[in-house]
Amino acid sequence: MNPRILLWLAVGLVVWAVIPFVVPRYIADLLVFTGIYTVAGLGIGLLLGHCGIVNLAQATFYGLGAYASAYCTVMMGLPSVVGFLVGAVISMALAYVIGRPILRLTGYFLALGTLALSAIASALFFEWDWLTGGTLGIGGIPKLDLFGFLLDRPSRYYFFVWIVAFACMAVARNLVDSRTGLMLRAMRDSSTAAAALSIDLQALRTKVFVVCALFGSLAGSLFAHHASFVSTQSFTVDRSISFLLIPVIGGATSIPGIVVGALFVTFLPELLSKLGDIHQILFGLALVAVVVLMPEGLVGAFGKLRARLAKRGGGNG
């Protein structure tokens, strides 16, 4: 690796490690959410950027992960790792069963199909109060205990969440760079030609949907152990939409872009809320501005800007 990149990486690592100790608690808390949203957003990014699929159902899998963790630890007294696993297995199974029929749809119809899934799941989370606690939710979810080290403060949980997020980013990067990644991009660019080259579109789309659900569930479990309390309002269609915004804002084909998108949807509303009631309108405007002015997301726009500056610099020098 070239020494300059190595240097930047080292600086980044130091900054990353120091941040939770120097920022106020509520910022550390937001950074934990950024990590959680990065995990959930990675799945959506894979579908959107590499398969051209709009998934508006991520809150469903996020909810499944969160409820699985809550139910297993609070109601059944099982270790937290069981909650993570149960959530993952249920989410992946559901994604497979639902994905097979609805992934036959394309474009807007598929997006609406996933939206319907999110709406149904959100209604069921509300109705099945024997399982989810309904609007009252489930409280008292224990903090994670890592070999005797209790992750009970945002500044501690931060490290755990971000290590998981980096691992998920590495896994997503692996997928993009793999044979499967090639087939995904081929399918996105021309499904007709991809089929002629023996790429099984249906199976591939289903598999990525399952991976997306796994990320969603993982993020949900992380959320449950951070918030200690889960209730239906965290898993509504609104949440699905804000998850979709992550890759749209950051840049759907870029993995670091997911982090940028996650920062945008966690920090911006918080910063704007200081301005009073107008904050939702401002957030909406900022969103529209990014989508209209930077169709490739913030990371794509940054890349373009850098290319333009390099060109200008080259022209002068």
């Binding site: 896994v171 692996n174 997928l175 760079d177 793999s178 044979r179 499967t180 990644g181 090639l182 087939m183 991009r185 081929a186 996105r188 660019d189 021309s190 007709t192 030609a193 991809a194 089929a195 002629a196 080259l197 023996s198 790429i199 099984d200 598999k207 991976v211």
Partner: protein, 252 residues
């Protein structure tokens, strides 16, 4: 006589009551170059879509290596060595030339999703193999200098060659070329003809659809389709002499 690689038996098809293919029967012998000509709307592309699996025929059977290609999907046909190109070249525009060719290699190897997610040694090994094959194919098809460019930036002729390279790298037995000379200049058509001959000499059977009479001279047998029926068959010289073909196709 040896079994033909592909045999069409009384294949018929219609769209909304309009009959586009009527009892079409012909064979493609292993190692041959067979041509299909016919004016626009004569049913050539429909026939192609039937062979490659995009359309299921309403009548008749298609035999490939002696067995019926009934419900086999496009993908299954591809895995059996039957690969097509498209009238308008279908390249993966946002991917580089090399990546396009790499996609053509993916069917030769198998990795599971889990192996790809975890980047296991097996997955890396297969990816290396795919890349090496694709690099060799790029050199061979003189796409080496273009290999890192996005396919969207290629000219029509380059796209055509890329599409053929991408199909050939997957080791087809039967290559179906749909109007490969459309949009190409004279020089490019000459190159294309050379490629068809060379690939055929290497053992790839070719079924060629075109209304380019010049390109058609590579075919050993040419079938002429007219309103969904084969009205003449033979080598190109015989076809050009055939009075019916002259009447309906050449307009003389």
């Amino acid at each position: 006589m040896a079994e033909p690689l592909l045999a069409m038996k009384e294949v018929g098809h219609s769209f909304g009551g309009l009959s586009v293919l009527r009892s079409v029967t012909f064979e493609v012998p292993e190692g041959g170059i067979i041509g299909l000509i016919g004016p626009n709307g004569s049913g050539k592309t429909t026939l192609f879509n039937i062979v490659s699996g995009y359309i299921r025929p309403l009548a008749g059977t298609v035999l490939y290596r002696g067995s019926v290609l009934g419900r086999d999907s496009i993908q299954q046909r591809g895995l059996q060595g039957l690969v097509r190109t498209f009238q308008t070249p279908q390249v993966f525009e946002q991917m580089t030339v090399l990546e396009n060719v790499m996609v053509g290699c993916t069917k030769l190897t198998r990795t599971t999703m889990l192996q790809d997610l975890l980047r296991t040694p097996a997955a890396r090994g297969q990816m290396r193999e795919i890349r090496e094959r694709a690099e060799a194919a790029c050199e061979r098809f003189r796409l080496g200098a273009l290999r890192d460019l996005p396919a969207a930036s290629l000219t029509a002729g380059q796209r055509r060659i890329l599409e053929i390279a991408r199909a050939v790298v997957g080791e087809p037995r039967l290559l179906l070329l749909d109007e490969p000379s459309s949009g190409l200049n004279v020089q490019e058509i000459d190159d294309l003809r050379d490629w068809i001959v060379r690939l055929n000499e290497e053992g790839i059977t070719v079924l060629l659809v075109s209304h380019d009479m010049g390109l058609m001279t590579v075919a050993r047998t040419v079938h002429t389709l007219y309103f969904g029926e084969i009205i003449a068959s033979g080598d190109m010289a015989a076809i050009q002499r055939d009075p019916r073909v002259r009447e309906v196709y050449l307009g003389v």
